[in-house]
Symmetry: C2
Subunit: 339 residues, 2 copies
DNA sequence: GTAGAGGGTGCAACCGGTTGCATGGAGCCT
DNA sequence: AGGCTCCATGCAACCGGTTGCACCCTCTAC
């Protein structure tokens, strides 16, 4: 394919070079790409042919300078190493590519402060943001959204476009399944408090459980990692629960490991449900989990942002992605009596 | 923190505004930030104070236009959803942040052609590239490297800076371990042919095995995915091998699943070794794997690139990251006889 | 044959910074 | 006092595109 044989700066094929080679003015070259309707069919083709021959690639920075449009967007995530995000980022970037947008990636390391810094750094060169599970305060998000298009993922702020993975469906199914299996006491291994997903899951879980007549113990895990999940097992056991629902699959993995160490076998002695379905098929036993469709969310977020960028006036859309329970091998009937 | 309260374009505080407010020329404002040594202490402070008051944020695009320096770098990976890459990207971006560089992410979807397109798209607005496991032809990579700083990860091209995760150490250990455990016939589940890592592993494996008097069957897996690994199990079994080494942990996971389906238990009936150690602790049984240190590689790549950017003349450094075998629960003595 | 319309193109200014060179003033030396 | 440096600052050109406006040419209508 040849990636623009002289994309470099040293030789740097500019619009002027193309103009000279095509024997037209710089304006004409510019228009051949941005407003072909204004030129004769003939000229457009000629100029484009010359441009290809020289390996001309428009300089975004220069374009941005005069138009104010950069052709870049940014996606900010709290932790790209968390398996929920890569598929999201991946589909987002693929979709962005279709709209000829390049993607900046920011990893805030779960810190609101670093998130703010990243955004400030990126802001002057992007047209819009996708903030996935932002830890930022509502105020700062609104401030940002006032200045440029923003799409949120898993954060519910009225008046700002957002994609929400609605865990309530899958969560409710999970509670009902566990009830049907005879469990009475559940534990919820809760994630970061400033995560909207966690708040939603917490709420749905407590409400549904109450309605179903089950008690639910909340165990704070903090940063959702394998180690944190593993180390929370003692608290879970202490609570007397016979089944647990974890904030995400990574935590579930940790719990699985912690349970094994303690000789508690899953699902015979204890049932476990994960969230996000990011690893599900990969664990042993295969994890029952609430589906999430991170990839779908990524594509949706990209679409929303593109809409926003093309729209003449600001608007806000909210896309909800439904979830359901994927039942696998970590859920079974409650043990007759607590050992 | 306040993230530059008027980063938006609408008000757009420019260098001219600051100049007017501070009663100096635009040049002076520019120099107050880029070359303060040239100005009097006094002027610098005055200008900066005014700038802060007005909420001035330098326009990267404009700066880039005249200096050719963007403050951006790009990292291109074949598949961000492959667990090897997120830690790498993460540490890379964190390190880049320290050097005040923003990071573009490109996902080539394992396609050399898309990789070339991405690079061409990004090239005009980045100062340098980190190409992780590039699928691109050597020729195109050299062409790119001739025009701007490039750091490769897991690709060994003389004269271009690179970070190599040298699997040979861990790979050799793996073969010796398997030999010691009494295995005679190994299988290698090979990854993408245009991956340097695969080539290296293939070679080390065949040579070491030959030396150790073991035979090794090569099973092509193609794109390294869970499904591909699972579906390759029949070929592995057919080969009569009693142990396998897989291109990476994701493939290993698939193999683990495929073996279970066939009722072949690990490690009693069959031993398995992964590579990259990305999931190792997360599987059941815990996977014996060749460590990789993707995060280390990311940091190293960032450092190399920063060096390159600061260097006055092009140079090439090669950082090698040693690996070793992490023995866990998927390797054991060979079964007495093939079942 | 001439005026009017309109499509295709070029000119030149502009976007917001950076930077080589010129300028002016202060300080120093003889 | 005159001449020379040197420091601080301003001027103006430039980076590589975009775009309002003017111009010219051709085609049509009277």
């Amino acid at each position: 394919m040849g990636m623009a044989s002289r994309a470099g700066r040293a030789p740097g094929v500019t619009i002027g070079d193309v103009a000279a080679a095509a024997q037209v003015s710089r304006s004409t070259v510019s228009r051949a790409f941005t407003r072909p309707q204004l030129l004769s069919q003939e000229t457009v083709e000629h100029v484009r042919a010359v441009a290809v021959r020289l390996g001309y690639v428009g300089n975004q920075a220069a374009r941005a300078l005069s138009t104010g449009r950069f052709g870049n967007i940014a996606v900010v995530v709290p932790d790209i190493a968390n398996p929920f995000f890569p598929p999201l980022v991946r589909s987002l970037q693929l979709a962005a590519e279709t709209a000829d947008l390049a993607v900046f990636l920011g990893d805030s390391d779960e810190s609101a402060e670093r998130e703010a810094k990243l955004i400030a750094r990126l802001a002057p060169q992007v047209e819009g943001f996708v903030l996935a599970s932002p830890r930022l305060s509502e105020e700062l998000i609104r401030e940002l959204a006032a200045t440029r298009p923003v799409v949120l993922v898993n954060r519910d702020l009225d008046g700002i476009s957002r994609v929400l993975i609605d865990s309530s469906g899958g969560m409710t199914e999970a509670v009902l399944l566990l009830k049907k299996l005879g469990h009475k006491r559940l534990a919820y291994l809760a994630g970061p408090r400033d995560s909207w997903s966690d708040q939603q899951r917490r709420e749905v879980l407590t409400q549904t459980s109450a309605k179903a007549g089950l008690t639910v113990e909340i165990v704070e895990v903090g940063r959702p990692t394998y180690a944190a999940g593993r180390d929370s097992v003692s608290a879970v056991v202490r609570s007397g629960a016979t089944a647990a629902i974890a904030f995400d699959d990574v935590v579930s993995q940790g719990v699985l490991a912690g349970l094994e160490v303690r000789g508690i076998s899953v699902p015979t002695d204890f049932s476990l449900v994960g969230c996000d379905d990011t690893l599900a098929a990969l664990t042993t036993p295969a994890l029952t989990s609430v589906s999430a469709g991170a990839a779908t969310a990524g594509t949706a977020a990209a679409k929303l942002l593109v809409n926003l960028l093309e729209a003449t006036e600001p608007s806000a859309e909210c896309v909800t992605i439904a979830t359901h329970l994927v039942t696998r091998a970590t859920t079974a009937a409650a043990p007759k009596s607590t050992p």
